[in-house]
Symmetry: C2
Subunit: 343 residues, 2 copies
């Protein structure tokens, strides 16, 4: 089957680009120095490719992602790099057989972890982006509190989300260094072996982290593509032209097939006008006929993939490339599939 | 179970508001004068509520939606109000046992319908929005072409998408009247009993349509809420606070739980700062503690629901309302679930 024969809309991965991205990152941050984040791809088959390259630990943003990894035999060392006070879901992780570490940044999240039977935590430190995490000053006392509740504190994590997408490398380096100074200060107070941090934009800049939580590098993104990174865009949505007239053309890939928070998708040689639920209206560079296919490049990979049930591996970023495999996007949603299927 | 006890993020429907919305619309456009569009809710349980109020015909935007309706016993008269040249999916509709009508606007879409064994079509007419549909002048010849291919032409459809969201009623009425003049002209040339058109914003303005394809009225939307409509907002996403400090608060409802093409969601009394994949960062009106719940109102309902596997019916739009039912969002995606579950 060719890419142009897939029922549409459908996610297509350029296998060559993906392979090069995975290999480049594994060479730069071998083994445990990378803890791949699965939130971007939500795919255990892709995670297996990362594990095969020596990365036995994974990062997730939801209990569901970690539980799926555990069930796929990838449970050697899983980090929930996010806060949760959901007892049932934490309990499911604690009893999954996987090694589970969760991020904590408050008494409530510590209590939730302890009560659910989670054994290990990282203290999440805010290093500059307004989201979760304690101040560096609060990190030591919080670690003591966690140990007092019987939890093993493996170290700290802190995500320099305000730095990872800064295009200028010198500025990105400076922001990262400042953020890591905070994180190292917190680590001095907390102890433990782990300093977990970073992302695709800082994988070769962040030298304070013992492990980098990069995920986007595998498939890349329009925002990261603005940076000076050695990773290639590897994802597209193949769509079918369903209407064409002298002024515009319409293909069957719309708001429910695309993450839209970064704006409209792109189509090579075309100008995208707008998206509806199941349509993208655009003016192509050269005329297209109804039934022809186009490759649509979403502006944001993560929320795009979360709409699809599968990604198709192709031997190249072209419509006439062979489809060589189909990978389920099996980590999406928040409910255990067993629970979700209840009426 | 209360809304505040649901695992989060989770869709919550205010049953009272939904019931009033359904009843109001059914009173205004009884029976076959309304052909509810399911693309907004993607839920056969909700479609059954619409059928129970006398609307035996349904509109869908994807073959998948229609196939799901057919399997749920709602196949009396299903309209694919969209173009498709997907032979397998059209064939699945043609052999589903349901009465299927599809929109056509080109020789290619006519050929695809005829080849797949579809029996009935509507000629889709462009009445002002740059998407699918032929010009009114092309409609008659296209109907002849369809009849020549053995298809029964039931009439025309045309969506005044450029009018439905115009806040000023007089302007909306004028735009709708102009659009319907085009559609009626096309209908005169095409023949048939059906003039299918309209949406939530024009349900009581569009007097040319024999049937209105409204869908958003059931759960409503922030954009439609700007209009002078008698429908109430009925949807929220319940989220859990996972971090709170003196400056901001974070809940577990982000880009993968929200359609973002209309911008950030709203939280009553709060200012929403930004969303990440699994987070919304906001400043609440009154302080919230970790573990407390908030109701998040998405800016766009349709692409929000498409991220979720279920919606929860609650006895009121409050955190302490009882959850009285759980409805599967069983029409999402594009693949037949049997196909989607293949490895």
């Amino acid at each position: 089957m060719l890419v142009a024969d897939l029922p549409t809309p459908a996610l297509v991965i350029d296998r060559g680009a993906l392979t090069r991205n995975l290999d480049t990152m594994s060479a730069a941050r071998p083994g445990a120095r990378l803890r791949p984040h699965v939130k971007a791809h939500k795919c255990t088959a892709l995670a297996h490719e990362q594990a095969r390259r020596g990365h036995g630990g994974f990062t997730g943003a939801t209990p569901r992602e970690l539980l799926g990894l555990a069930r796929a035999g990838l449970g050697d060392d899983l980090l929930l790099a996010n806060q949760s006070v959901d007892h049932e879901r934490l309990r499911a992780l604690a009893t999954s057989g996987a090694r589970i570490t969760v991020a904590v940044d408050s008494e409530a999240t510590i209590d939730a972890a302890a009560r659910a039977g989670i054994g290990e935590v990282l203290v999440d430190v805010n290093v500059g982006m307004p989201r979760c995490g304690v101040s560096p000053e609060e990190a030591g006392p919080l670690a003591d509190l966690a140990r007092g509740r019987g939890l093993a504190v493996r170290g700290v994590m802190g995500y320099e989300g305000h730095a990872v997408l800064v295009p200028d490398r010198a500025e990105r380096t400076k922001l990262t260094a400042d953020a890591m100074a905070s994180l190292v200060r917190a680590h001095d107070a907390v102890g433990g072996d782990v300093v977990s941090s970073g992302g695709t934009g800082t994988y070769d800049i962040n030298d304070a982290a013992t492990e980098i939580q990069a995920g986007s590098y595998a498939l890349m993104d329009t925002a990261y593509a603005e940076l000076d990174l050695p990773f290639e865009y590897a994802l597209a949505v193949v769509a079918t032209v369903i209407h064409a007239n002298a002024k515009w053309t319409v293909a069957d890939c719309g708001l429910k097939a695309l993450g839209m928070d970064h704006g409209n998708p792109a189509i090579a040689g075309a100008r995208v006008l707008f998206c509806s639920d199941e349509h993208v209206t655009f003016t192509p560079g050269t005329p297209l006929a109804v039934g022809e296919r186009v490759l649509v490049r979403p502006a944001h990979v993560d929320p795009t993939i979360a709409y699809h049930d599968a990604m198709h591996l192709a031997d190249g970023p072209h419509l006439d490339a062979d489809v060589v495999d189909r990978w389920a996007v099996d980590l999406r949603g928040w409910n255990d599939p067993g629970i979700a299927s209840r009426p």
